[in-house]
């Protein structure tokens, strides 16, 4: 398979209460094996998926937040978080997990995966995509 397409995975929902965010993340992980140009987007309550210090013990739901830390190893290195969504929820970048990836073209330097972008920038990014999944 030589063709490479741009895949965007948009996450809009809070991490728990439904299984959809976890199922969305499963698509990203499986998709990583196909070596396409991949990015993830977190908007609306989806920004809570990247919140630090998630504790699900009392809910009985599996805490799958550690999986986001593995994304870099799957070469999913661009996670765009919408600035307006963070602000509307009283969050800042410091509230999010410090996710990183290792750049093999730069002596395995550790680089941040999360990029805070504006709603307008996201709109431009959307325009570039070949395949968009909405979770």
């Amino acid at each position: 398979m030589s063709e490479t397409k741009k895949f965007m995975y948009i996450n809009r929902r809070p991490p728990y209460g439904t299984v959809y965010p976890l199922e969305g993340l499963e698509v990203v992980l499986i998709g990583a094996a196909f070596e396409q140009e991949v990015c993830m987007v977190f908007i609306s309550d989806g920004v809570f998926q990247l919140r630090q210090g998630q504790d699900t013990i009392d809910s009985g739901m599996k805490n799958f937040s550690p999986t986001y830390r593995a994304l870099g190893d799957y070469e999913v290195t661009r996670l765009y978080v919408e600035r307006e969504s963070l602000e509307e929820r009283g969050l800042t970048e410091a509230d999010l997990m410090p996710l990183t990836w290792e750049d093999e073209d730069d002596d395995w330097a550790e680089k941040p995966s999360i990029q805070i972008v504006s709603r307008a920038q996201l709109s431009d990014l959307l325009e570039e995509q070949d395949v968009v999944f909405n979770f």
């Binding site: 398979m1 397409k5 895949f7 998709g31 196909f34 396409q36």
Partner: protein, 102 residues
């Protein structure tokens, strides 16, 4: 759409519930599961149900029933159970991928 070839329909999240033949809507309502089965037969359409989403929601084919020790299966005619790779592969191969759902 005329001239368009649809090569796969992939069912994910709660969409996998389209694939159970145990569905019994009221007689005066449309039977969506049967409509999918008929559509698949008429156009040789590949209807794929995601295995992980299906397991969570109790959609089972004979192989899965055997593998997971279940006493029955419920997959509707024309559907098959497979992995998420089928969705990604479709996204790569097709000119367009359409997503339905909220």
């Amino acid at each position: 759409m005329p001239g368009t070839r649809y090569f796969r329909v992939f069912f994910y999240h709660d969409g996998v519930n389209n694939g159970t033949r145990l569905t019994t809507p009221p007689q005066d309502d449309r039977h969506i599961v049967n409509r999918w089965s008929e559509l698949s037969k008429a156009h040789d359409l590949d209807l794929v149900v995601c295995v992980a989403a299906a397991q969570r929601r109790g959609i089972v084919d004979p192989d899965e029933a055997k593998r997971n020790g279940k006493d029955s299966d419920n997959i509707a005619p024309g559907f098959r159970i497979s992995g998420l790779g089928q969705l990604i592969e479709a996204g790569i191969q097709a000119d367009r991928l359409l997503v339905f759902g909220d």
